[in-house]
């Protein structure tokens, strides 16, 4: 029986160490925890902020579907994904994945799989706000993100 993943979509920041502790405290069967944090880049000093739009309801559902696949594919003891929306400044957190397992390989692979699928399937869009005051463009999807997800099929 696979574990139930925890998925949260929120405007607030998250606390990575608290999320790790949630999957490890009070138990002795977890031998490996892999975390991935995605942060907002300043694009060589030109970016003031990212504005992240999402599809409420589907965002949770889609990441949930991907996370359930990860839990079925690897022997995990816990899996958490948190994605923020709203205005995010350079250096701030955007996304967190925490995968826990008895051994490292499952934790590494599950975290990688979840991120690769999330990039191309979770309904989020980023718009750039520039330092010069202009509202820049919507960030364009990368072909390489699609290819990254396809590798797991």
């Amino acid at each position: 029986m696979s574990v139930a993943p925890m998925i949260r979509i929120q405007a607030e920041d998250f606390d990575t160490s608290a999320e790790i502790a949630r999957l490890t405290s009070g138990r002795g069967d977890v031998g490996a925890v892999v975390t991935f944090s995605g942060l907002c880049r300043d694009e060589a000093g030109t970016l003031a902020a990212l504005e992240i739009e999402h599809y409420p309801g589907m965002a949770e559902a889609e990441i949930g579907r991907i996370a359930v696949q990860a839990c079925e594919r690897w022997p995990l003891t816990g899996l958490t994904a948190v994605h923020r929306f709203g205005r995010i400044l350079p250096g701030q957190n955007i996304v967190l994945v925490v995968a826990a397992s008895a051994h490292r390989q499952a934790a590494f692979e599950a975290a990688h799989f979840l991120m690769d699928y999330l990039k191309s399937r979770a309904p989020f869009w980023k718009k750039e706000h520039r330092i010069d005051g202009s509202t820049g463009e919507w960030v364009e999807a990368k072909e390489s993100d699609e290819e990254a997800a396809a590798r797991w099929r």
Partner: protein, 84 residues
Amino acid sequence: MTRLIYFAWIRERIGKLEEEVELPSDVTTVSDLLQWLRGRGEGYEAALQQPKIIRVAINQEHVEHREPIAGAREIALFPPMTGG
């Protein structure tokens, strides 16, 4: 009635977050819907001029353009996703 929801630059170009529409009976697939919407005005045409790149979800699940839309309560149109 079917609820249509738009996101990111599709929302901006159409100029609406969402709307309720009565779909003609000959609009049966996602492709038909995109084609029909393009005829509804300049904003729609600007948003949907490259239908191939438009992503669509029916009742909050991704669908291909060839899929039928019968029974859809909520259809969302959006650009390729850029989360993470």
